[in-house]
Symmetry: C2
Subunit: 318 residues, 2 copies
Amino acid sequence: MARQILDFLRAKDGFVSGEDISRELSISRAAVWKHIANLRSIGYSIEAVPHLGYKLLSIPDKLLPEEVSHNLKTKIVGKNIFYYETVTSTMDMAFDLGFNAAPEGTVIFAEHQTNGRGRLGRSWLSPKGKGLYMSLLLRPKFLPQEAPKLTLMAAVSIVEAIKAQTGISAFIKWPNDILIENKKVAGILTEIDSEPDRIKFVNIGIGVNINSIRSLLPDAATSLSAESKKSVCRLELTKDILRFIEKNYLILINDGFDSIREKWKASSSILGRRIKLNYQNREVSGEAQDIDMDGALLLRRDSGFIERVLSGDVIKVN
Amino acid sequence: MARQILDFLRAKDGFVSGEDISRELSISRAAVWKHIANLRSIGYSIEAVPHLGYKLLSIPDKLLPEEVSHNLKTKIVGKNIFYYETVTSTMDMAFDLGFNAAPEGTVIFAEHQTNGRGRLGRSWLSPKGKGLYMSLLLRPKFLPQEAPKLTLMAAVSIVEAIKAQTGISAFIKWPNDILIENKKVAGILTEIDSEPDRIKFVNIGIGVNINSIRSLLPDAATSLSAESKKSVCRLELTKDILRFIEKNYLILINDGFDSIREKWKASSSILGRRIKLNYQNREVSGEAQDIDMDGALLLRRDSGFIERVLSGDVIKVN
């Protein structure tokens, strides 16, 4: 009902009378007042003027499901949204939901994570209300070894959403970091629940530094606001990320990996360059030559041997 | 303390006086009596004779941690045991434990599962107290695509334990069924929690029909008691399974897959034979030629093409 009241307020530019709302939604004037009070308590600014009624002045800077859903226009991604002020990690929630038959496209947002995580058990800093901390649950009919494709698909989508919202060209540091001016602005963590021959579900964790203050971030990191020199609308960026992921995911499952791979290559920060990698507890270097059909990196060693690297850490780019 | 009393009773052939127990363990006579009463309530048969003391007559037919641990002599597998009368599935418990940092080798037993599961979401019948329903949590430094090796390692271990306990030669129907006289006596379910380039943990679910009555099992299934025409000690079989798994797991991680693969091939019910497979939603047939270094089946199609099959259902063997 709160959502219907919001939609009603949003539909009008000026004031809406409590009487109109009450009549339209078949609830009492007292109920209207209670819902308005409730909306104010979660951060909506709603003006009330006697004889004129209510007017929506601003929405809270939160990734509330009713705001993310509004005009989202996706068919899968974000049709089912869970929202938390604070969680250990949205990935923990995503696993619970995965085991409990949550549908493909379920999204979990948190304003703050106490134990946000990155690859290989690393942590992800999650200052309250400053970034995007989300997990997306997918159930593709892929083999487990195809999962890297999903990481690359998500990376491409985040780059497209950043471009659309801020005009900034971000680059992908294989396999899962998004960089601006060589500093990390977003990361992707792919976790898989599988049997040897099929994926049961995949959780894609996405962390984006949006309005974090530069000085509070690690040296090698940046935020969208720091790079664009203005605050960035978390809600609109989030909605665009969901939209681009849906578009690219449908391309991936319907048409295959080719066009995602091409987009990915166009945004790569390493292809054609000499890199040093940390991979399976050893250091290897060579030229980052290509991405293969599974999303693995093809590294041309000095010996000429082409090494296929599923995932690793790029520690140096020349 | 109950466990120490049990060990004390087990160490003597005849009666042990309450006074001796009380002195040895530094507890009161009343405490001794309470522990004895408690042991009786969980199924231990303990005789008490005035002036003579206590005598252990029999242990309950349950996979109690104190019984499984007794003389187990493993270093990893089963050092940490969880036991339940009834669970949905030991795999559910294993995932919870995996996420909560349970150590490698943790084992979960249940006397009964309300939602025991097999591959591809199939169910596994779990009559109370008649079979072995367990999950084993491992944390090998493997790539996710190497997980089939663990399924084969477990299959080999179960065949060895069945042979040791009953003298029966069981065979492995690739990838995860154990057969006696072409009927299914045990199954293995491998579930993996991973990132694209590393396994975080693997749960190996093992179901063995031990003392189930033949007429209550599906047509294509059998039990060890039905095949050996006598009841089989669940506890000793279980302990042997844990011991053989430990042995073979250590071989696998220290010396590689070679010798497990050779053992596996020696117990295979399909190698060298013409089979029909259900695989990735299609039917293929050919000769089961070999198992490769990742544990995948190499199927020689009629065209001569060798197809590499990660997992599937053998639906016909000629």
